[in-house]
Symmetry: C2
Subunit: 259 residues, 2 copies
């Protein structure tokens, strides 16, 4: 993509994973609600491409999207336990602001950070913990309706529906990535669920790179590494986006101290 | 249901259709944002069971739901062309207020007025107008993911997800009724789409009666009469709720003046 790419929530964990590997691959614009410390801004990004703004601020968002070709929209309250008022404003209203501005500015593609919490209630007592283990063949593939496990998950599912609307009615290309458990370096130790939905930093960057490069209409995909334990299918991400992850939480399952 | 039943948006079209047939069948509490004119309040309902309150007002809603066994939640901005700020507040936030209060007050069942606009984008150019005609066998059955045709539809789909969350995580029984085209007396003339999704007043009252009487967990059903033209299945409403509609828009297809 030759046009600039806007990354919202650039200072967060997902944003930093993306910038670590893709800093030099795009003409980035970074947006965050808080001023970004210098170490979170790649050297290749000029100060005037860094926006301090709330995603619910229509005018600020319109200025930031002017002339961009793609958006990776990560901004929002990331806490699974976030209260309703916060996710209503930051996640639902903020995501509407991004999609509406994208259409107004003629942006081609938006990759929206959805979450495993949008489907967390599929992890019922009778399915777990088998669900998290290699032998279990139960899979969610992105075609199932959301079943959120918290109000944060409700807000992410609502963001997916906003994306569906803006795709169907305004021709925007939208991919919603239900992100698993992103941790740096290694999967969480002693946490089967986290291992089943692990997303390594480099697979995360590669996945969002594919979201900017591939052609699609509206997609819901899962964002996890190629884990041996898994209950999210990554087939759709492979087929439509060309996602080709290289990490697998099984290669890290024991804490080095316990080996 | 012996406990009182709260009807929100009681002064609107759906609320009035329900009260016309079921005024004496329940111990009603009526809530509306505007004071209800006397002719909209059944004689059986005392003045102190009529609440003037906004559904985004947590305290007022908690007072209205205290001691009720069921809620029919219709309140919201009903305009398909309603702007985002209005549906965000009145429909999404307001519906959250109702569900949260229902759980806090120990309410058993909530019937939520969703809408055909939550799935309006299935009516693509290549499917219409065949979709609206008796020979066409395409059906939506409530298992398909929302594809809203406007921001009002986005808000209704978000309300369905809130219902899913409050059912899965708080054991509330929730039925979402994707209401078709409710008109009094006869279906809309010369409007195939409206005839395909017609819901007569008496079928509407009967359907919400069944929502209060039947046992269910979480359901999404279509609210239309037994029309010959249709692209919404009413099988699920029949099977789970015992819905047994008596009207059919085909019996009215010509304006009497044209017959």
């Amino acid at each position: 993509m030759d046009d600039p790419v806007l990354l919202t929530g650039a200072g967060g964990r997902v944003g930093q994973a993306i910038l670590r590997d893709l800093a030099d691959d795009y003409d980035w614009r970074l947006l965050d609600r808080e001023p970004l410390p210098r170490e979170k801004i790649p050297e290749s990004v000029d100060d005037d491409a860094v926006y301090v703004a709330d995603v619910t601020d229509d005018d600020a968002v319109l200025e930031a999207v002017d002339g961009v070709g793609g958006i990776i929209h990560l901004a929002g309250d990331p806490r699974p336990e976030a209260p309703w008022d916060s996710v209503l404003r930051n996640n639902i209203d903020g995501t509407h602001t991004i999609f509406a501005a994208a259409v107004e500015a003629g942006v081609e593609k938006v990759a929206f950070a959805s979450s495993n919490h949008a489907v967390g209630a599929y992890e019922t007592d009778d399915r777990t913990p088998d669900l998290y283990r290699p032998h279990d063949e139960y899979r969610l593939d992105g075609t199932e309706p959301p079943r959120p496990s918290n109000l944060y998950g409700v807000s992410k599912a609502s963001g997916e529906i906003l994306g569906r609307y803006y795709h169907d009615n305004h021709d925007l290309s939208v991919v919603c990535v239900r992100i698993g458990n992103l941790t740096r370096g290694h999967p969480p130790w002693n946490y089967e669920r986290g291992q089943a939905m692990w997303l390594s930093y480099r697979d995360c960057a590669h996945l969002f790179d594919r979201c900017l490069q591939a052609d699609y209409g509206y997609e819901v995909v899962y964002g996890i590494s190629d884990n041996e334990r898994k209950y999210y299918s990554i087939d759709r991400a492979r087929d439509v986006l060309g996602y080709d992850p290289i990490d697998n939480s099984a290669e890290f399952e024991q804490h080095p101290k316990n080996q």
